[in-house]
Structures are given as C-alpha cells and as structure tokens.
C-alpha cells in the first residue's frame, strides 16, 4: 500500500510538487520560532529612531514595514495563520460536503429535496460580501472565513458527491449488502464512503486555497483581526502605508507569493489526484 502511494507520487509531478509545497510551509510554521529573526509584532528601533521602511539587510532580511516591524518574521509567522485557516476550512468543506452528499444521495426522497433547496439558497448568497457582513457582526476574526466557507461552499462538494453516491447506490454489491441485512449506516460507511473519500479529499484541497485567498481578501479590506499576523494583513498594511507609491516591492510581493504557492499547491494536488482517479487513457 505504501509502495503504491509512493509510486503514484513518483510518476506524478503535480501531486509531488503540491505536497512538497505543503510540507515546506508546515515545517516553516512548526519551526517559526526558530526561523523568524524577530517578534513579528514588535516595533523595532534603530540608532536613528524608528526602524521604518528599511531596505533588506542582514538584520532585517526583507526590510521593515512603515511601523518598524520585521517583514521576514511576519512572513514566517503568517504561515501559521494560513495553515490554520486553510486546513480548518478544508475540513469543514470536506466533512459537510461529504456528509450532505452521502445522506442526500443515499436516502433520497424528501431529505434529498430539502438539502438540495438549502444548497440553492447557500449558492444564492454572494460569498465575499457575506464574509464582510459576517465580520461586521461577529467582529474581525480569523474564523469568519472558516464559518462562511462552511456555510456557503459545501454545495459544490455536496452535489458532486451526491451524484457519485447515486451511481454507486445502484451497484450490485450495495444490493447484496442490503439483502444480507447490513444496516444502512454500515452500508454507507463501509461500502460507499471509501469510494467517496477521494472526492472529499479533492474538494478539501481546493478549499484550502480558497480559504487562504478569502482570508487575504478580508484582511486586505480591513475586516480581519489586527492582532494576528497573516499574509493578508501584511498586504493590507502595505497598501494603507502607501507601499505602492513608495515602490516597496519587497514588502508586498513576498506575502503574495506565499499565498500563490499555498493555493497553487492545492490545485496541483487536486490535479494530481484527478489524474490518479480518472486516468486519461492516452490515445
């Protein structure tokens, strides 16, 4: 089994790169305390006063912000927030989408109907504006994004999983399981779920990227928490401190690159996984 998985990764560039990026950031966030050079929130002073907008140096690897904070350390600690939000959201989507898809597809009838109507309603609410409004009455909080994703983005995963369950339901071995007296619960979890899990995983990996992008957007708009360092917060800080006109590229380009890497890793993994699940028979 392990050798099988290993072989899959070896032949499959996308999945490998994607997982590699994740591992990279996971390591960084675990060892952030060691890797970072300063306290990311600390306002630093130099001999001439506030250490603001300093260019990269050995002391401040990527320079400092307008408030005298070390950019590099912010970048490093930002990975923690990104992973926390990303993985929670992925879990939310995967779990909700799977459960909904399983129940809806397997039981059908009025349960299915109600769930599909709920899906339509969830899809009717514009996503980013919803997170903004959520931030307004729940307060600026990293978890707004996760809640919003959980509430609004489960239909995509849910629908696909549901249709997969519908196909599986008609298969012979399900019939025979029913006949042999397996409880519905058992059937769902022993027979159908294993076939569904790859899809859950797929949507989960895409959700990670989506969550990180959304968190960045929300922070950028000023609705994110101001005491937590995140890459989105860095971008907002840069923007409002006129980093653009100051052409302080070193400030706002690295956080963006980190975001891109994390999101693209999600895409790569889902692509790699897709190739494994649905191999295209080459002509």
């Amino acid at each position: 089994m392990i050798t099988e998985i290993y072989k899959i990764f070896r032949e499959n560039n996308y999945a490998t790169v994607g997982v590699g990026i994740y591992i990279f950031f996971i390591l960084i966030s675990i060892f952030a305390d060691i890797i970072a050079t300063h306290d990311p929130l600390r306002i630093n002073f130099s001999s001439s006063g506030l250490a603001r907008n300093l260019p990269p140096s050995w002391e401040y690897l990527l320079g400092t912000t307008s408030n005298g904070r070390d950019i590099f350390s912010q970048l490093v600690y930002g990975s923690r927030n990104a992973l926390a939000v990303g993985l929670s959201a992925a879990l939310a989507v995967a779990v909700l989408g799977t459960v909904v898809g399983l129940v809806s597809g397997f039981y059908g009838g009025w349960i299915d109907n109600i769930i599909m109507r709920l899906a339509d309603i969830a899809l009717g609410l514009p996503f980013l504006p919803f997170v903004i409004v959520l931030a307004a009455f729940l307060g600026p909080n990293s978890w707004n994004v996760v809640i919003a994703i959980g509430l609004l983005l489960w239909p995509n995963a849910g629908r696909i999983i549901r249709s997969q369950v519908l196909t599986l339901r008609e298969r012979g071995y399900i019939e025979s399981a029913k006949v042999s007296g397996c409880s519905n619960f058992r059937i769902i979890f022993m027979h159908i779920a294993p076939n569904i899990l790859p899809l859950s995983f797929l949507y989960g990996s895409i959700a990670i990227g989506w969550a990180i992008l959304t968190e960045a957007s929300i922070s950028f708009l000023g609705f994110g928490p101001s005491d937590v360092i995140s890459w989105g917060y860095m971008l907002q800080d840069a923007y409002s401190s006129q980093a653009l006109s100051l052409k302080a590229y070193i400030w706002f380009i690295p956080p963006g690159i980190c975001i891109v890497l994390m999101v693209v890793a999600g895409f790569f993994i889902s692509r790699g996984y897709e190739e494994i699940l649905f191999p295209k028979i080459k002509e």
Partner: protein, 328 residues
C-alpha cells in the same frame, strides 16, 4: 420549440429563493451587535432625539411588522436613507451600479474570449511542452489574490512607469454628466484599463481550463471520429463540431461568472478606488451604515440569483437535447 412551463417553474423558484434569502438578510442585519442605531448615534443624542430616530427608522414596531415593511420596501426599491449621507440608499446604489456592471462585463468578456481561444489551443497541443508549461502558469494566475495582482500592477504601471492612473473612474475634479457620456469618454476607458486587465488576468483561468477540458472530451466523441472519416478538414471539425459543443458549458459559466464576479469585485474596486457596488458595501459596513450595507448586499444577492437563473435558462435553450427533454 421551448417549453413555457419549464421557464415559469424556474422563474417562480428563483422568486422563492430570493424571498428566503431576503429573509435571511433581514435577520442577519437585525442581529448586528446592538441596535442598528447605536453605532451611528453614539451617546451624544438626547433620549428624545433617540426616540425620534427610532420611530423614523421604524425600530419601535414589532419584528413581524418590521419584516413585512422590509419586504414591501425592498420590492418598491426603498432601502431607506443612508446613515452617513442621509441620502436615499437606492440612489447611491443606482449611481454605483453602472460602474460595477461595466467593470465586470468588460473584464469577463476579455477573460472569456482569451480563455476560450487559449483553451482550445491548449487542447490541440495535448501532451506537448507548450501544454506542460502553460497549465502551471494558468493555475498560478488562478491562485494569486486579485487585489495583490492589482497592487503589483498599480505599483509598476501607475506609480513607477506612470502610464496609467492610480484609481477611480476619473481624475480628481472630473465629473461625468451622464452614464452615456461616461461610456463614450476616452478618459473613462483610460481609468478602466488597468483594473479590468488585472481582473481579466485572474478570471481567464476558468474559461481556459473549462474550454480545454471540454474540447479534450469532445474530440473523443464518436461524431468527431465520423467527421474525420468523412474527410472533413481538421479546421472544420474543430470549429464547427468540437468547439460548438464544447462552448455550451462555457456560455453557462460566463453567465454564472457575472453573478459571481459582482460579489468578488469588492477587492478590485477597493484597490483601484473604483466607485462600484462592492466598494459601497465595504464602506457601509466599516462605517456601520446599516441601511446602505443592507441595500448593497441585497442588490448583490439579487444579481447573483438572477444570473444563476439566466444561466439555467441558457442551458435550456442552447442544448437541443435538454430542451427536447423538457418539451416532452
């Protein structure tokens, strides 16, 4: 050829969803911390003035009365007065709406035209180096936060090279008389270019990947093989047969994309100080101007749901197989 009942049914369902969503919005905004007025009023008003304002905003009525009033007013288009500007919310929305529409449509059209052509091209170039390089690049454009791309564009093209303006729909002091004069003004387009190109860069990934995967699928279809057997030219097969079928989902995606982009444009509008609906919402929420926030949010939702409905219809019309099934 089409089936009226099926359209009516979908339309009614759309109304139903709109109603449910409006109700959700109603309760959402009521649940905002404190009375809607506290953030606005603060402690500097006397009790008398407080009561007057409460009456004026109808906050003394029962929840049910407020709800019915809300529904009626929403249908009339009366969203009340903005707390901060004391202007009718609807007027502010009407003013901002065209800007959002133009930005969205402009960017989407560019993105989709590029995406469709590039996607078909990449499908043609299956298993080549071109494909191997292009796909990761496209995925990267989809992974970058749009506002970040906007920031880079602004920093480089606007501040560094000074080619494009740094935001807004016009330079300070310039006012467009009417929407028509805005649309026909070169000055306007000068301001539109940067935000719409940045947005288009982000958006093109979807149509590109979609078109590519559709084309790959269609090229495997039997009728494509038959066309080859008939001796038709590759050109003809790709354009008249493969592309035609592959475009169906892309057309639907476009319609859905409009609804979606409206909400998502919030950030681009902020980066480029583009006075659209999204930016209005952000402003309203950050200044606790709840009538304005509610109005803007309702509008964004309504547009999204409308677009979903149109996309549904479009699929009905464009695919003869589907429209035939519903006829029977």
């Amino acid at each position: 050829m089409f089936d009226f009942w099926s359209i009516i049914r979908r339309f009614l369902y759309m109304i139903f969803v709109l109603w449910i969503v409006a109700t959700i919005i109603f309760f959402m905004f009521r649940l905002m911390p404190g009375s809607p007025l506290t953030a606005f009023i603060g402690t500097t008003f006397t009790d008398e003035q407080h009561d007057l304002l409460v009456k004026r905003f109808g906050l003394d009525k029962s929840l049910f009365e407020q709800y019915s009033l809300f529904l009626v007013n929403t249908l009339k288009g009366d969203f009340g007065l903005s707390f901060t500007y004391n202007k009718p919310v609807i007027d502010m929305i009407i003013q901002a709406l065209p800007n959002s529409i133009i930005l969205t449509l402009f960017s989407l059209i560019i993105a989709y035209i590029f995406g469709v052509i590039a996607g078909a091209y990449l499908a043609w170039k299956r298993d080549t180096l071109v494909e191997g390089i292009s796909i990761p690049i496209v995925l990267t454009t989809r992974s970058a936060p749009e506002f970040w791309l906007g920031m880079i564009a602004l920093a480089f093209f606007s501040f560094q090279l000074d080619i494009f303006p740094s935001g807004g729909t016009s330079a300070a002091g310039v006012i467009y008389e009417t929407t028509l004069s805005k649309l026909t003004s070169l000055h306007f387009y000068y301001h539109l270019i940067l935000p719409s190109l940045v947005l288009a860069l982000y958006l093109q990934g979807l149509p590109l990947l979609l078109m590519r995967s559709n084309m790959l699928e269609v090229m495997q279809e039997d009728f494509v093989t038959m066309s080859k057997m008939k001796g038709l030219s590759s050109w003809r097969i790709v354009i008249y047969h493969a592309a035609r079928t592959a475009l169906l989902p892309v057309a639907t995606a476009f319609t859905l994309g409009v609804g979606f982009a409206f909400g998502g444009n919030v950030v681009i509008e902020t980066v480029f100080s583009w006075p659209g609906l999204g930016r209005l919402l952000v402003f309203a929420v950050s200044s606790s101007d709840y009538p304005l926030a509610q109005g803007a949010f309702i509008f964004l939702t309504a547009i999204l749901i409308l677009m979903n409905f149109l996309a549904d219809l479009m699929y009905l019309f464009l695919d003869p197989r589907v429209s035939y099934k519903t006829k029977n």
